[in-house]
Symmetry: C2
Subunit: 388 residues, 2 copies
Amino acid sequence: MLNFQFVSPTKIIFGKNTEEKVGEEVKKLSDKILLHYGQGSIKKIGLYDIVVESLKKAGVDFVELGGVQPNPRLSLVKKGIEICKKEKINFILAVGGGSVIDSSKAIAAGVKYEGDVWELYEGKGTLKDALSVGVILTIPAAGSEASMGSVITKEEGWYKRAINYDILRPKFTIMNPELTYSLPPFQTAVGTVDMLTHVMERYFTNTKNVDLTDRLSEATMRTIIHNAPLALEDPHNYNVRAEIMWAGTVAHNGLLGTGREEDWATHDIEHEVSGIYDVAHGAGLAVLFPAWMKYVYRHDINRFAQYATRVWNVEPDFFNLEKTALEGIKRLENYYKESLNLPLTLKELKVPDDRFEEMAEKATEKGPLGNFVKLYKEDVLNILKLAK
Amino acid sequence: MLNFQFVSPTKIIFGKNTEEKVGEEVKKLSDKILLHYGQGSIKKIGLYDIVVESLKKAGVDFVELGGVQPNPRLSLVKKGIEICKKEKINFILAVGGGSVIDSSKAIAAGVKYEGDVWELYEGKGTLKDALSVGVILTIPAAGSEASMGSVITKEEGWYKRAINYDILRPKFTIMNPELTYSLPPFQTAVGTVDMLTHVMERYFTNTKNVDLTDRLSEATMRTIIHNAPLALEDPHNYNVRAEIMWAGTVAHNGLLGTGREEDWATHDIEHEVSGIYDVAHGAGLAVLFPAWMKYVYRHDINRFAQYATRVWNVEPDFFNLEKTALEGIKRLENYYKESLNLPLTLKELKVPDDRFEEMAEKATEKGPLGNFVKLYKEDVLNILKLAK
């Protein structure tokens, strides 16, 4: 086990009708906020009205900024920064999914950072202070509601880049599983893939003796795997939606990475794909992670065999652990295809193969990706080809 | 799943040599502290000198208060409160195990509480503010290093009572598994029982649909069960000590109780026993929890069968789940006896049966115990007899 630091201070307020408490929670931290949201789904499900009423009742002033798109854009972030500075706002309430939260974190960072906020995402600056962010979560997937990360896309050149700072972890997150009832099946499915991939990016590690994190990770994956198809069958099942929602947070708040080296190569590759083609992040991961697995599993067959056995109930063949390992990868693919109805190839995602070279180049321009196996441009190209 | 709030803001600093950072961490929060510890073991293992040097180097003033006993006493807490008030101290550094941390939390509470601190433990007052506490953990067991709880014993009448407040969660906890190498086998064993019982008190619940917390709990229990005997065999095995140490924190920071009703009857009963007889808390639990299980398992045979199967690898007998359930309890008892070398009866702990009546009376004087099954005086008496 490696030395580590772990802090996850986000206050989780979980359950039915919890969104009604938002004004009260915000009021403890701020009198004037930016209310940040996406493209209107929060109005359709009636959440917007509840939030506005709760804020007004608590005496919280707010300025609105809607319009966050999936793969949230730098231009809107800059607009948010401008508003916050002009209006002397010190708190951002994100109402939505990962894109809205990531956009909020970027604004929170940008207001306090002296240079251009994109410098942070390019790794050219260091963040020392940020505004506070609170969340009402409507899409369980990205785990951004308790994570330290924010991923933003710069339209010019279509760069999608991430930052990670503990000070960006939201102060509170309100999670009512009922708010996820209306998610379309595709959203539920790609959210599931996103969560599972957050765990797997941490699970495939070179660090030995990580019993607890392995087992906690397997527990989280099994819970997600079991419940997601039930949510597709019965979208209004509270308990099933609740399991998925809470698992999505646990998957990415950092607990499952404690004491081990993490990978994240597949996320980096996917960022190149969805940066250019605007593919749903989870859909990209559903295609790319199995391809990554096939490319690297020989590096540690025992770990892949453990994964197959403990996560997918593959009976281990102790005389052929490679077979066991491969069966685990196959079950993951089958699950994505059969249980979540997701495409398994880039072609199905309408990602042609004519810019693979460019993506592999961009992904590795700052050096090799990942840790489990270091991936150079050629490796990324091979993985893209495996996913074709 | 039930609605819940969860917050666990303690910053975990885990790994080799991390105790050397204590001065730096404290300095961020305070210039003058109370250094609180137990009966000298931290001097024997050289930790005291490291801490003092680190504090001095960081320019942190400190006043010392050693002498915390197992089952920490109210009289010392009061002494600590007096010192903090007199010396205008605003931070307490606990260096030790659960008793030292609990004593520190009690002092932290008492300094800010206007009445007598014991009122809080009697449930006659409410805590609104407290000093900050930081921890260097030397005994993995109680989980107090990231929990909201504090358990104190009032010598007059030998009452052992608990309080739980989020504001008592330590600001940081430093955990170096090497500091646990010198723990005697008995301490390692009873610490293991304490951790496992923290999980089991939450696991046996009437709340349905708690998939994730069930699986995370099973993951934590399996990790503890696997590693504790290895630590007894090889006390200087870093990885084994690290797994146990981190699992002890996860077992009790509240994550494994999210969304469910918890029990805690056995802890309450044990507090009566160790309040009078000064038995090691974990040793008391090793005797009492299996007795509790035997007394209540019929209330939900399926849950006990799940426990047996998923935690102890009992092959389920689907035509006789009661048998499966009982086999799980038996394996726990065997584990305590064979793998941890612990006594299984109160008699072996030198607890005679002549004050059972008094303990059952005291335990239930404020109403029935527990939630899984509500226990009245007669039930507590029966459990004590089962544990005789």
